[in-house]
């Protein structure tokens, strides 16, 4: 009987195991996690931080799931090395686990900047239930929290801690928050909203040092300013956990390089999720798009290929949906084109009179390359699909940002879609 070993008990790993079990009850499946929980909704830890979701509601696959699906789950087991020559994974406790097929789905970790004092107690990443619990404990003793980074994770931590009534200061190197996923105008809308709700934002400044003896007591900015705080959250992006595979012979760049079957350069080893560098369907190059839907889809594609189906992956996309203090935004693909107006790039924009709604679409040679919808987000999924399939939208371009835009507008465009008109 074939043995599939999955390193990682989250979006990608669970999706792979589930998709195998839909069709195959024979193959032996083992899932390994260095954490102490059955599968949980990682993205909901910010809702747990803010108090909107209780801890027990985070778990999405409880113990009986593993039992019912004949999956062996090994918790609190950290893999430290892959011995691809022997088809074995080496654990921290020196145990070796054999496999016939391996799925590397060990995700990513917060990037910590290399500055003095960054490993002091009270400086936390925001990735796991354990991180969140520590943050909640610290929030009881530290009236001030400093967030390093104005990206999604940083702002989610800021939002959660503000809801816990802390004095929250966000230190952002770039001139705006959310600069990775929004353009200038939309990021300013969010910045205003956050400030209105009492979050302090220090743009154009970076942290230089974490001060304290063992415990964090303050941070020092590059301006020389010192802010007293015992809680610092690092939200400076994530990095795939490639340390595990460094000497395994598996090729990696930013993440593990996979082909369109989610296979690595080693035929018995697949990779999926935040660890994997797959093809980006919109940007048309290999990228790590560390997002939940991509991880689920990649786990599914890996499963089908492990079962020998030859199923190709259409590619991942950069796409985000968030809401802060009642202001929602969805954006995907390219949000700041390299040369607006040149090389076939074009931007179309609309806003309402009161500047509460903002929509922008980026096109290249009449193919949608990205979009940002602030405060009126419905129907953006139609654009995402058109972008992924690289559909020429020249015939409907003037309707895309109209308030009555809807799916029927695309009915004469030829691309794969469900038939639902008689």
């Amino acid at each position: 009987m074939k043995h599939l070993l999955i390193i990682g008990n989250s979006a990608a790993g669970i999706s792979c195991a589930e998709n195998i079990r839909k069709k195959d009850k024979e193959i032996k499946i083992t899932i390994l996690s260095k954490e102490d929980y059955t599968a949980y909704n990682r993205c909901l830890i910010s809702y747990y931080l803010s108090g909107d979701v209780k801890e027990d509601k985070l778990i999405y696959r409880a113990k009986d799931f593993y039992k019912d699906n004949a999956i062996e789950l090994l918790l609190n087991k950290k893999a430290i090395r892959i011995d691809a020559k022997k088809n074995q994974v080496v654990l921290e406790d020196k145990t070796r686990l054999d496999y016939d097929v391996l799925l590397v789905a060990n995700g990513a970790s917060p990037k910590f900047p290399e500055i003095k004092g960054i490993r002091k107690k009270g400086v936390l990443g925001f990735r796991t239930i354990a991180d969140t619990k520590e943050m909640l404990d610290m929030s009881l003793v530290s009236p001030v929290a400093c967030i390093l980074g104005g990206g999604l994770i940083g702002l989610k931590a800021a939002y959660g801690l503000k809801k816990r009534n802390l004095d929250v200061k966000v230190i952002v190197k770039s001139p705006q928050v959310l600069s990775q996923i929004l353009d200038k105008e939309s990021s300013e809308m969010f910045q205003r909203r956050l400030i209105e709700h009492g979050i302090e934002i220090l743009t154009g400044s970076d942290v230089q040092e974490v001060i304290g003896n063992g415990d964090c007591k303050a941070i020092k900015l590059d301006s020389g300013k010192v802010i007293a705080t015992s809680l610092v959250v690092v939200g400076k992006g994530v990095t795939p956990n490639t340390d595990l595979i460094e000497e395994s012979g598996i090729s990696f760049d930013e993440g593990i390089k996979v082909d369109e079957y989610m296979k690595t350069n080693i035929p018995t080893i697949y990779a999926a999720g935040d660890i994997a560098q797959a093809y980006d369907a919109i940007l048309e190059k290999a990228s790590v798009n560390a997002l939940w839907p991509n991880a689920v889809e990649q786990g599914m594609i890996a499963a089908r290929n492990i079962m020998g189906e030859n199923k190709k992956y259409a590619g991942s996309t950069g796409m985000n949906s968030v809401e802060f203090f009642g202001l929602p935004v969805i954006s995907f693909g390219m949000t700041r084109p390299p040369h607006p107006g040149e090389d076939g790039y074009e931007e179309i924009v609309t806003r309402d009179k009161r500047n509460t709604i903002y929509k922008k679409i980026i096109l290249k040679n009449n193919v949608i390359k990205g979009a940002i919808f602030v405060n009126k987000i419905e129907n953006i999924g139609i654009l995402l699909k058109l972008a992924k399939l690289k559909v020429d939208v020249s015939t409907i371009k003037d309707t895309l940002l109209r308030s009555d835009f809807n799916f029927s507008v695309t009915k004469d465009l030829h691309y794969e879609k469900e038939e639902f008109y008689l």
Binding site: N41, C43, N320, I377, I382, S408
Partner: protein, 145 residues
């Protein structure tokens, strides 16, 4: 599995489908009570009125269901017989499903921060929009292959 199909040529945009959908998903299921309920329920089918005709649209319960893969709260699942299943209690209003739906068929209810989507009237096993459409512009029939 049965599915909803639309004939835009027959649709007069009378919006009966929207009304019966909203009433059918209200706590009282009665028009005169439903309109004064605290949170007047939103219809999950909508008729788009355009120059080229009128187009009713609701969740397709599609086989691909990218919304299920996108849901970060595991509020969505798919059943080959029943179609898309939505556990409203789990929904946190992150709108990942709105982003993922290629038909624009998911609505947002800002009052309780939950998404709104067609459940094919699972309570009576017969979608009210099709049952009540006066011109038969909406039909509920076995899936066209």
């Amino acid at each position: 599995m049965k599915k909803l199909y639309y004939d835009p040529k027959k649709c007069t945009a009378c919006k009966t489908c929207e009304i019966v959908c909203a009433i059918g998903h209200s706590p009282s299921k009665d028009l005169y009570t439903a309109i004064v309920e605290d949170n007047v329920s939103l219809p999950s089918v909508r008729v788009y009125v355009g120059q080229e005709g009128n187009f009713p649209l609701a969740c397709r319960h599609c086989k691909d269901h990218p919304c299920v893969n996108a849901c970060i709260a595991s509020a969505l699942s798919y059943d080959t017989e029943k179609g898309l299943l939505f556990n409203k209690e789990k929904c946190v209003g992150c709108w990942m499903c709105v982003m993922a739906c290629p038909y624009g068929a998911v609505r947002t209810d800002k009052r309780d921060n939950k998404s709104v989507r067609c459940d094919l009237c699972a309570d009576i096993n017969d979608p009210r929009c099709a049952k009540n459409c006066p011109t038969k512009a909406i039909v509920y029939v076995e899936e066209k292959k």
